[in-house]
Amino acid sequence: MQLDAMYQEIILDHYRNPHHKGLRDPHDAEAHHINPTCGDEVTLRVALTPASEGAGLDDEATVSDVSYEGMGCSISQASTSVLTDLLIGKSVAEGMRTLEAFTELMQSKGKGEPDEDVLEDAVAFVGVSKYPARIKCALLGWMAWKDAVSQSFEKEGA
């Protein structure tokens, strides 16, 4: 039974009791992502706070809130829930590094040795990386987050 390795308790916990779920205001941008193979969806909002009074939105900005709504499998839902825990309060730059670490973990084919300091609960997804068809599920919320951040930046620039 490889299932236990994939569906670690942390994942099932986040799935059953998702953190920060529900769309909230204020927000700077909202992204809606769909997994075309299964139709799973996530709508995700970010609110950013400039690093200092009067500064613009840049990599140093703080992720003041991430909220989301969505339907999908345990993996996509849990991974989005974990994402909110990880990213709220971090700077955008730190968030992007976390995204990178998570993406790398997902491509590790089950052989990744994730840095628990960076990924915290997200290390539980290492088992998912053994199932190529599920990697998209795990990344769904993360891609939406990346998209929403760059939308925030663009809006500001415009």
Binding site: Q2, C38, G39, D40, M71, Y131, R134
Partner: protein, 427 residues
């Protein structure tokens, strides 16, 4: 055919012909392949026929005069005859494509090409004010090409809606299919809910208004006897890979007089009459629609698949799948928390059984099933609008073929219960 004449399938003997069925998956679990609706497995006989072509007769067909080219051409055209007769057609009405998707696109593009063609091809021309009718249960392959045709030409796309049980709602048949309708395209059998659609009712109305009819037979030709002579449709599309044949080959059957008039789709070598720098003329059908070096070995493989199915008997295949479907509807339908999506009785219904399990997302369910060697498909099965209509994001689908057993159905039901235990949604 009477029960006695029919007799049951010798499934054990059949399974011997499919090398892949003896492999194991995950932790040495025997393979329970319930995804034939996506693609079927291939018997040794088909693989041997294809290989024999390559090892003995391989050459470019219709392009050479030497012995290998003769043999290859002969093999290719004999394959066309076998496949034609498998669906009760004449061989010059059978066009080879790469898959059913290309077959549907062929007709859709020929129709927009008719608009810029010089000849009088009114029958195929569509434009603003004209209507194309599809259904809400179509596979994307029989929906998106028509959306695109409408986009290219300004015609309007309309559709039959689907009832909660996954049947076509034909109450507005006479309004939907009307004098403006140029073509009606629909699935013979749904790849999601298994519904077999009432072809006669729809074609009768199409005939009244002079509309063309294209039947997506991807899920019927592999699973039941299909006879184009009896169907009164104009076009029929299906794929080789779903009926024990190789990948990379599909079929468009079309009425002779339509194929004779229809402008080409893909152009290039072997489909021409005369070529000048400034203009070209076309070969007769079916060559007109087969540009380039064709998939001759795959045609030979598909003919071997038809021979295999004919030898078993399509009546028998259908009866066997009916039995499996009835059993699955009963066994799976009886599990607490499981809801069958689509007809729950095996009447006018084929062997695609989709369902949802309360509180378990199909992806998660599929994962547990896979862990036990039970290979099903999860998602929208390329029928997103149908799922949206039924208010479901995704379903889990088990689909059967002649090599499946009653034990496979039991393994499926057992695996669903295991998933419920694993996710703690049922005891």
């Amino acid at each position: 055919m009477s029960e006695r004449e029919l007799g049951p399938l010798d499934v054990a003997a059949i399974r011997e012909d499919f090398p892949i069925l003896s492999r194991t998956v995950r932790d040495e679990r025997p393979l329970v392949y319930l995804d034939s609706g996506a693609t079927s497995q291939k018997p040794r006989q088909v693989l041997d026929a294809e290989r024999e072509f390559y090892e003995r007769h391989n050459a470019a067909v219709h392009r050479g005069a030497h012995q290998l080219a003769e043999e290859a051409t002969d093999a290719y055209e004999s394959a066309r005859e076998t496949i034609a007769s498998f669906i009760g057609a004449d061989s010059d009405e059978v066009v080879f494509t790469k898959n059913a998707t290309e077959a549907v696109n062929l007709v859709a593009y020929a129709m927009s090409n008719a608009a810029t063609a010089e000849d009088d091809l009114r029958r195929f021309q569509v434009g603003p004010g004209d209507e194309i009718v599809v259904t809400e249960m179509e596979h994307h392959a029989n929906l998106v090409p028509w959306q695109q045709l409408c986009q290219r030409t300004g015609a309007t796309l309309r559709w039959f809606s689907v009832t909660d049980e996954g049947r076509l709602d034909l109450s507005d048949l006479n309004e939907l299919v009307n004098e403006r309708t140029k073509l009606v395209a629909f699935a013979h059998q749904s790849n999601v809910v298994g519904t077999v659609n009432p072809v006669d009712t729809i074609t009768a109305r199409a005939r009244e208004v002079g509309a063309l009819v294209l039947l997506d037979a991807c899920q019927s030709v592999p699973h039941m006897p299909v006879d184009v002579a009896a169907l009164d449709v104009d076009f029929l599309a299906f794929s080789g890979h779903k009926m024990l044949g190789p990948n990379g080959i599909g079929v468009l059957w079309g009425r002779r007089e339509l194929l004779a008039a229809m402008p080409p789709f893909i152009s290039g070598g072997s489909m021409i009459g005369v070529v000048h720098m400034t203009h070209s003329t076309w070969a007769d059908a079916p060559q007109r629609f087969e540009a380039g070096v064709p998939m001759a070995p795959q045609a030979v493989g598909l003919a071997a698949a038809c021979d295999y199915l004919s030898k078993v008997g399509m009546d028998r295949v259908a009866a066997h799948e009916h039995e499996l479907t009835e059993y699955a509807l009963k066994l799976v339908g009886a599990i607490e928390g499981v809801r069958i999506v689509g007809p729950t009785e095996a009447v006018d219904r084929g062997g695609a059984v989709s369902f949802v399990v309360e509180d378990i997302h199909p992806h998660d369910l599929g994962q547990v099933l896979d862990d036990r060697g039970v290979e099903v498909r999860v998602g929208h099965h390329c029928a997103w609008p149908l799922h949206r209509k039924l208010g479901i994001v995704a379903t889990t689908r088990a689909s059967f073929y002649l090599y499946n057993t009653l034990e496979d159905v039991e393994a499926l039901a057992e695996a669903i219960r295991a998933a419920q235990r694993f996710f703690g949604t049922r005891a």
